[in-house]
């Protein structure tokens, strides 16, 4: 609220300002009608803001209520402990671990690309690049961030996988490696721009002090700026990872549909998100145990990403830069 600080107790009506000579202005300004209008608007915009809280509540409630039907039949420890996921084909088994492992495998591969490349790109943009260069590169990275994920899926399946198959001839068409590498490219702009913001926030006096001591640009970047911006950079990594965990279409298209507990990136796997899409496309009757599995998986997914996002923001708030 920018105004509150500027004009303490900002007037709700002109008559507050003119209180001394208020009464004669009242009729002129039709104060009551105008105040009434303002009060209605105040409540309306407040309701709009509250809607965002209601959305979170609705997400939690619908996931919990719908997965209640699942957890009343399948105990939580079976869901979290069993190592086989086969909710449709007999013999049935409801262990979510293969889906979690699939998600983690793709996320790990994506992070292996996006974290080093993103940090390096952020360092370049924040510490090395001229303003002119940055003004060209940043929009390009923004375009990269704006490409729909279904396009990345197409790219992974029809371009990256065939290229990788030249190196690994026995790799399957659907595999975690290709999806993971493209995932890295996909979250790269996010990791790099959040890290760059953190590095740009480091005060110039720290850099100048280091240069005065004779440090090279690279030493200033790695020994001064990155450590000073570390909390923001960690938050960027975590938020990027959480994005990768929740990413859906890329892994649905390119990583396969076979839930498997494996760390071999050349195999076909299935992520939590891809399973939800797969079941949504089928004709599973509403209210059945199979149908409720997607809400149980969705709840787990929501909780994982929520914890990561909260962690990301908490890191910034707690250890964020306080140089002033």
């Amino acid at each position: 609220m920018s105004l509150g600080s500027a004009a303490q107790g900002s007037p709700d009506s002109p008559s507050d300002v003119l209180r001394s000579s208020g009464s004669e202005y009242r009729a002129l300004f039709k104060r009551n009608k105008r105040n009434w209008e303002g009060a209605v608007v105040h409540r309306l915009v407040f309701a709009c803001a509250i809607l965002s809280i209601l959305t979170t509540v609705a997400i939690l409630l619908s996931l919990v209520i719908q997965s209640w039907g699942f957890f009343s039949q399948i105990p939580v420890w079976e869901f979290l402990g069993e190592a086989r996921w086969s909710p449709i084909l007999k013999p049935r088994s409801y262990g979510v671990l293969p889906l979690v492992a699939g998600t983690m495998l793709v996320t790990f591969l994506g992070a292996a690309v996006a974290i080093p490349v993103g940090l390096a790109a952020a360092t370049y943009l924040s510490e090395y690049a001229h303003d002119k260069v940055r003004r060209i590169i940043k929009p390009i990275l923004e375009v990269l961030a704006g490409i729909p994920t279904v396009v990345y899926g197409y790219f992974a399946l029809t371009f990256v996988t065939p290229q990788l198959q030249r190196i690994f001839p026995d790799m399957l068409v659907f595999n975690a490696l290709s999806a993971g590498l493209v995932m890295g490219i996909m979250i790269l702009p996010m990791v790099s721009s959040l890290s760059e913001d953190a590095m740009l926030a480091v005060p110039n006096s720290l850099r100048q002090a280091a240069y005065a001591l004779g440090a090279t640009r690279f030493e200033v970047s790695t020994k001064i700026v990155i450590p000073a911006a570390l909390s923001g950079i960690m938050a960027a990594f975590i938020i990027g990872l959480s994005r990768a965990i929740g990413e859906t279409m890329l892994v649905t298209i390119a990583a396969g549909a076979t839930p498997k507990l494996t760390i071999n990136p050349l195999e076909s796997i299935q992520t939590m998100t891809a399973y939800i899409v797969q079941l949504s496309l089928g004709e599973t009757p509403h209210g059945s145990l199979e149908f409720n599995t997607i809400f149980a998986v969705g709840l787990l997914l929501f909780l994982i990403t929520l914890v990561m996002n909260v962690m990301g923001y908490a890191i910034v708030r707690k250890w964020g830069l306080k140089y002033e």
Binding site: A6, C48, S52, I59, Y124, I147, G153, T158, I253
Partner: protein, 304 residues
């Protein structure tokens, strides 16, 4: 002074060499991102260029790739975008006005802000599940003999409501930035002329913030156009040979049609998918171009 050079090893050549190598590595990292984008665009365009024919735009989907088109998906996307804007723009701007102009500095405000930041990080498929439970299947309340049923089925309306919730954080954040950019002197001038708070917001703050808000809204809409996962959870059916006539009709959108084609093994459908992607990217790029144009126009005016 005693020379201390024996304890001080500047080793400048090696350090400078290290810096030079690092520079190459850092530039390489940026190049990876740009190269990825270029390869992706070139690849999609080369694969899809042969399929960019009138049939792609004017035909309904078909089993035969040479007859298949995006008509149902294009209209569905238009419907979804329009209705999403209808729901989320007033609410998003309202929430932004509250947070920027009215909200007191207390725990509730802080909670709302954290909550909006978290909502922006919720995976889109989770919004799909929310829409599926809340809008598609809905709820049935029974009190004795009265039975109230609320559900929208797999309709455009259900899709638009879900999508509104998904892009709401983006609209709120963008609108807040735009409102924040309005100088306080404008407000003070308005108050000095005797306007009430709401009159100031309506007559001064909103008009000056409008171009900035429009930019954010267009970007939010382009996100809505590209989103696939939540719409799949809601619309499910991907083979439609009609366009929606009303808000309660079934629908499909561009990315779903593309996904449908990508997931078919025949090479022709892969080409068709690339053609569809080119159409989708053209739609998104033109939206972004409008947003950038508005932003530039806005910036130029504020300098005057």
């Amino acid at each position: 002074m005693i020379p201390r050079t024996e304890r001080f090893h500047p080793n400048l050549e090696a350090r400078k060499a290290k810096g030079a190598i690092a520079y190459v590595v850092l530039v390489g990292a940026v190049a990876v991102g740009i190269l990825g984008l270029v390869v992706l665009l070139v690849q999609v365009f080369l694969q899809g260029v042969d399929w960019l024919r009138p049939e792609l735009i004017f035909n309904f989907p078909s089993r035969f790739p040479e007859q298949a088109g995006l008509k149902a998906a294009l209209f569905g996307t238009l419907w979804l975008m329009g209705m999403t804007a209808l729901f989320c723009v007033p609410v998003g701007i309202g929430a932004a006005i509250y947070l920027e102009e009215y909200a007191p500095e207390n725990r509730l405000t802080q909670f709302i802000e954290i909550n909006i930041a978290n909502l922006a990080g919720v995976p889109s498929i989770v919004y799909g599940l929310l829409g599926l439970a809340l809008f598609v299947h809905g709820y049935t309340f029974e009190y004795g003999s009265t039975k109230i049923e609320f559900n929208l089925g797999r309709s455009v309306m259900a899709g638009a409501l879900t999508m509104s919730l998904l892009v709401l954080p983006i609209v709120i954040l963008a609108s807040r930035e735009a409102i924040k950019a309005v100088p306080d002197t404008y407000r003070q001038a308005s108050f000095a002329l005797g306007a009430t708070k709401w009159e100031t917001i309506r007559g001064v703050v909103l008009p000056s913030a409008l171009p900035g808000m429009l930019t954010g809204i267009i970007l939010a809409m382009s996100r809505a156009v590209g989103e696939t996962a939540p719409v799949i959870a809601i619309s499910a059916l991907v083979y439609l040979t009609f366009i929606p006539q009303g808000p309660l009709d079934r629908f499909t959108v561009l990315p779903i049609q593309i996904y449908n084609w990508v997931s078919r093994p025949q090479a022709d459908f892969q080409g068709l998918a690339a053609g569809g992607i080119v159409v989708l990217l053209i739609v998104l790029l033109s939206m972004n171009a409008v947003a950038v144009y508005l932003r530039n126009k806005f910036q130029n005016r504020s300098i005057e």
